[in-house]
Amino acid sequence: MLQVRELVKRFGEHEAVSGISFDIAKGECFGLLGPNGAGKSTCIAMICGLLRPTAGEVSVGGFIVQKEPQAAKRLMGVVPQEIALYPTLSARENLRFWGLLYGLAGKTLQLRIDEALEIVGLTDRQSDRISTFSGGMKRRINIAAALMHHPELLIMDEPTVGIDPQSRNHILETVQRLNTERAMTVLYTSHYMAEVEFLCQRLAIIDHGRLLAAGALDEIRRLASTESAASPTAEEPTLESVFLHLTGRALRD
């Protein structure tokens, strides 16, 4: 579904992304992990067609994003890290607007709004303004807006930042349902290792713009346990311990 090939992005002298490659198969849920400043957002921006790569190529559903952006974008639904909604408009009005930008109109648009509201469990609040919503509810509408056109690839950039455990749980279950029941391919980035462990079959860890590790969850865990095998007291590594092992414990900005 998604092929990322030797992706490079330079901003002047600074190389934010240095030759990253990975594939995501159709129906797969893939996690992209990395500390702040690792290059995740730059990667996502290039995949979404917001940034032109210095080198390399991104292909979505067979369409090269740099060459056929509109065709590739039709297959993608993007959930940005920010609450990219209009606070003075109602949930329904927001979804109508985003549906329209995805090319929906008329009765189909109305049906898709109903469906998206139902998926995120906010049908009863559809007429309320976004400004009156809790953080968790805003996040759910933020996701609903990306589902309007039934995307084949859902790109979620830290979609659970700053919300309560109940809302996070609801979002995770929704993403899992979309992935398993609708075979929606998901690219999921998060700081929360537990979320990636819960949702993703495979993942990649990047730092300083470079790919440090990629593979199935167990393979990544084994990578750390292999490296620490010399220690007789070593416990079964968690994804978090692997992450810290690969990216280091130094504080990031």
Partner: protein, 382 residues
């Protein structure tokens, strides 16, 4: 096209949903029209008005040893101390150049005294004194009308008195001299008309700049980037945003037009002409607001700029002070602003100058809209 309309309508909906914007963009201008329209009359009553230039084209020269009525008007009436506090009288010999100055709004009025004025008055033939008024200079224009009417009445009473004293034949007195007031156009413009236009233009610019700030806001909140992740081309998003700004400002203009008509009886001239001029100005303002966003980049800076721009452009266009008081260089700068062209265009339409006077300001405003729209469109792609 559907997406452009959708983005534009979304902009309008966002404006309607913000009560602060509604108050600022619709109620404030109407309130200011009421205050300034009334205050202008107060100024006249208190005599707190600075001198305006009056050009006199006098062809009524002395026939023999006695002075003509034309000379009397220039040397006695208009040189009176009370009148001198209000007018700087400048004799001219080139009527065409004087008319151009009046058309450009550089002077308050032009008085034309025909060569046979004295002779006609004395012979009892119709004697016509022509006063061409600048419709934008309302207060001084009205005062000048009173001064000249006083002068013609004085001639009338003196001729009558001469007739009674000398018991001359009735044919030597005849008709009194007549003052013909000719506004530049067919009608004079009232203070409420003037300030309805001036305030509408000022607040439309303010709204356009606030729309520019909204665009920056959209970039900061991520809605602009989100729009770019949808299968919607950059050109469509740019066009939608520009159309949204124009739709908001055109709606504001129509609301102010109707509001001023209902509340103050403001006649905007022929409606199609006023709407076309309003639409052209709204487009220019929308382009300017978007272009300003490109240059300033920060929403806070844009918010401050919206107030500053509306005041500065209002000032330069003559919305706050009469433009003919400006020095030449400043007048040249004023001509670079959309407000100047829109204000002059509206005043011409209100004065009944007709469609011929509509096209130059519309062409200038649409050119400003094109240039600033192009500059503004670069923002989204940068």
């Amino acid at each position: 096209m559907r997406k452009i309309t959708g983005i534009a309508l979304n902009g309008l909906l966002l404006m309607v949903r913000d009560p602060k914007v509604l108050v600022l963009s619709l109620l404030m201008p109407l309130l200011l029209v009421a205050i300034l329209g009334t205050a202008l009359r107060g100024l006249i009553d208190q005599g707190q008005i600075s001198p305006g230039t009056v050009l006199v084209f006098n062809e009524d020269v002395a026939s023999s040893s006695s002075r003509s009525f034309g000379q009397l008007l220039v040397t006695d009436v208009l040189a009176n101390d009370a009148v001198k506090t209000l007018f700087v009288v400048t004799p001219v010999t080139d009527l065409r150049a004087a008319q151009t100055d009046l058309q450009d709004g550089k002077v308050t009025a032009l008085i034309q005294i025909p060569p046979t004025f004295t002779a006609d008055a004395l012979a009892g033939r119709p004697a016509m004194l022509q006063l061409y008024r600048n419709p934008a200079d309302l207060t001084r224009g009205e005062i000048l009308v009173q001064v000249l009417q006083g002068f013609t009445n004085q001639i009338k009473s003196q001729l009558l008195s001469a007739q009674l004293t000398a018991e001359t034949s009735p044919t030597s007195v005849g008709l009194p001299p007549k003052l013909t007031v000719v506004p530049v156009g067919k009608k004079s413009v009232s203070s409420f008309q003037y300030y309805a236009v001036a305030m509408a233009l000022m607040f439309i610019i303010m709204t356009a700049f606030q729309r520019g700030a909204k665009l920056l806001d959209e970039r900061a909140t991520g809605t602009l980037l989100r729009a770019l992740t949808t299968p919607t081309s950059t050109g469509t998003i740019v066009a939608g945003n520009l159309a949204g700004s124009a739709l908001v400002t055109i709606t504001q203009f129509i609301a102010l037009m109707v509001g001023a008509r209902i509340l103050f009886g403001v006649d905007w001239g022929p409606w199609p002409n006023a709407l076309l001029l309003g639409a052209a100005y709204s487009l220019a303002a929308a382009g300017l607001g978007t272009a300003a966003a490109v240059l300033l980049k920060q929403p806070k800076a844009m918010e401050i700029a919206s107030g500053a721009a509306s005041n500065l452009l209002g000032l330069l266009s003559g919305a706050l002070f009469p433009i003919y008081k400006f020095p030449g260089a400043l007048l040249l700068v004023a001509k670079l602003t959309p407000n100047y062209w829109a204000l002059q265009g509206f005043l011409d339409q209100m004065a009944g100058l007709g469609t011929a006077h509509l096209w130059p300001p519309v062409a200038v405003l649409l050119s400003i809209a094109l240039v600033t729209g192009y500059v503004g469109s670069r923002y989204v792609t940068s």
